[in-house]
């Protein structure tokens, strides 16, 4: 066996899209505001207190950090090339309590149509493609990985992947 030291695993030089801290919506807004843009749309996904009739206590998010950063960057660039817009995006990791914001997107464009469309695109692609996982901790003490129950049927490829409807929808 070769020593693990022979590997240089990927590291995130400076996280842009993931954060362990509370998301500062004002900072995201400031990031995209411009005299050019008259339409600014935002989406916040926050932690809900229930799932399938069960009471949720908190969510625990983990990520494959370097790939999540890369994928978020790709999604933002795609949106910015498809619409004349600027996107700010942040996703939380770690333990989140009910009501905490897990993901925030702000899209600024000249007009509202583009801003809404770009904002919608980014949240849908984030949920579909970014390697982030959440674990539900229920009030009754049970703990479950979201989506893990369908792992047996998973056919591979993010496109076919069943997207959990829990958490920050």
């Amino acid at each position: 066996m070769t020593s693990l030291r022979s590997f240089r695993p990927f590291r995130v030089a400076e996280p842009v899209y993931l954060t362990a801290d509370v998301i500062d919506l004002g900072a995201l807004l400031a990031q995209v505001q411009s005299p050019r843009y008259g339409g600014i749309a935002s989406f916040l996904g926050s932690v809900r207190d229930h799932q399938d009739g069960r009471s949720v206590l908190r969510l625990e998010y983990s990520a494959y950090d370097p790939m999540a950063e890369a994928e978020c960057g790709r999604i933002v660039r795609e949106a910015q090339s498809q619409w004349d817009c600027v996107i700010a995006l942040k996703h939380r990791t770690g333990t989140l309590q009910i009501g905490d914001v897990a993901v925030a997107i702000v899209a600024a464009s000249a007009h509202r149509d583009e801003a809404f469309a770009a904002c919608r695109y980014v949240i849908e692609e984030v949920k579909r493609r970014v390697p982030i996982w959440k674990r539900e901790v229920f009030v009754d003490g049970t703990v479950e990985w979201v989506g893990a129950g369908t792992a047996g049927q998973q056919s591979g490829g993010a496109v076919e992947q069943a997207i959990s409807e829990h958490g920050a929808d």
Binding site: L4, P9, G147, A148, G157, S164
Partner: protein, 87 residues
């Protein structure tokens, strides 16, 4: 006297439910060259708990999603990704 088969060593990362299945979030595999993603998966299935991995889990090689027939290179980082649930 048979020639010593060349090998390829890759780092495997496991996340979320898969890390719990295998009881580890990072390990290395030494595979006979040439080796594909599917060979690494077959090896993982022989580990305790590994039999419960799905037939075709989502895989990323050096941060990019790949298919099971993708060839592995020395020092590659292969990540086995459970169903995504961000947002």
């Amino acid at each position: 006297m048979t020639a010593v088969a060349s090998t390829v060593t890759v780092r495997v990362l496991l996340f979320a439910s898969y890390a719990e299945l295998l009881g580890s979030d990072a390990l290395e595999l030494v595979l006979e060259s040439p080796a594909r993603v599917s060979d690494a998966l077959a090896r993982l299935r022989a580990f305790p708990g590994g039999a419960r991995l799905p037939a075709k889990p989502l895989c990323a090689l050096n941060l990019t999603q790949v298919e099971p027939d993708t060839l592995l290179g020395a020092g590659d980082e292969l990540a086995i990704l459970p169903p995504l649930s961000g947002g």
